[in-house]
Point group: D2
Chain length 136, copies 4
């Protein structure tokens, strides 16, 4: 399963080089990830309401072309790997079908005390949905 | 009591007009407020650890002169009003002694459930310190 | 003329009080303002391409109710005053028809050197559109 | 040459997990990088004033331990590679001597038109300083 999400570059996301500040790409990955979960049928809000959070353990971003205020960035989100304790997501960003950035985030799952958990035990419904994404 | 705090403008705080994005001034007010409480001897962290938060109910900012990357902004923080349930703080910002912005924030105090509280009952130590600030 | 714009609260816009950090409201005002200009038929991007910027001289925000991750905030934007050198805009924010915040921004117009200009001289097309907004 | 820089976690940098939002680490890398250049004797501001910018081509961050409001993060910055057209910088972040995050940024150098340049031709003074950093 792949999911597409659109983000228009806000003025407050630009910097004095007159382009998007690089730190925003990883924020857009989060927006796209949340949208992905909405479309998957198990929202991040629902996950947190069940007492589980999914912190980011690592992230990376490669910027191929600068983006600018008012650009419409299309972000394609894809589950790259999932094994009930770890989740790896890849993001591809385009503007007018031109590749502008690629990124990756790595996640675990934790309970309200911050202790890592196994999603198949604590949240089997999301576990199953994520497994289906991988099989696609 | 007045307190002075310094913030150097970060590159990520600039925008495509090549100056500081206006939204950052209210963030610097927060930095200055936290620093003020550190110097007052009752840190915001200590307040939150005691179960009390102080959300912002309102804020305003007037920008007199643009600021730029690498500018050192000096923020003078002053308690303007305090009556155990409400707190009003004023901020004056200068760069090289030139006034660049003034701002104000209004706060209440809430318990972990978000219910407004009276600071003289829930946190008499901070209540007393704030009263002393007003009398100055 | 009034314009409505929707913003879903991003996770990165929340803070440790588990609600939206107050600094984001003034960023949403910018998003709504840019969207307003798109709908008015003279985009902010077009304005900047013509060499004119519209910096924020002052802003204020009053938060009536906290907002939270995933809330859909509807922002109604209205030109409050305009006289070719100054522009005042008001914003009303609701979540599920409940008023959560009101705000205001004040702007001037400047040329690429940062010198204030009269919009009726430098950009008569936008000047006319803004006058029509006021008359509504 | 290594350089150490301190950043206190701001409240606005936290998120609803009550810890630092992950996007801030790459912003702190920028703060540390700017501080590094100040200490190296060729500030980023001076570089931009000379007409040269150094955009981020790629970045990565691995978060070992969460950080929290008011934590003092010490960031050690080290030039990892430099060849006059590309620059790679590594960052190590600790809180109370405990490793909390590592990161990396990759940069090129561009002229005001965004065209990549060779630093030894366009800015020999900084080129020499960066070479000395590598030799350390």
């Amino acid at each position: 399963m792949e999911s597409k999400y659109k983000h228009k570059v806000n003025y407050y996301e630009t910097d004095a080089m007159k382009m998007t500040h690089h730190s925003n790409y990883v924020r857009w990955m989060e927006e796209a990830r949340v949208d992905f979960m909405d479309k998957m049928g198990y929202s991040y809000k629902k996950l947190e309401n069940s007492g589980v959070s999914s912190p980011v353990l690592a992230y990376s971003c490669e910027i191929k072309h600068s983006t600018y205020f008012d650009d419409e960035v299309e972000i394609t989100t894809k589950i790259e790997a999932y094994n009930t304790v770890r989740l790896k997501i890849k993001y591809t960003m385009t503007v007018n079908d031109i590749l502008v950035a690629v990124g990756e985030t790595n996640h675990c799952f934790v309970n309200p005390k911050g202790v890592p958990i196994r999603l198949n035990k604590e949240c089997p419904e999301l576990d199953e949905k994520l497994r289906l994404c991988i099989d696609d």
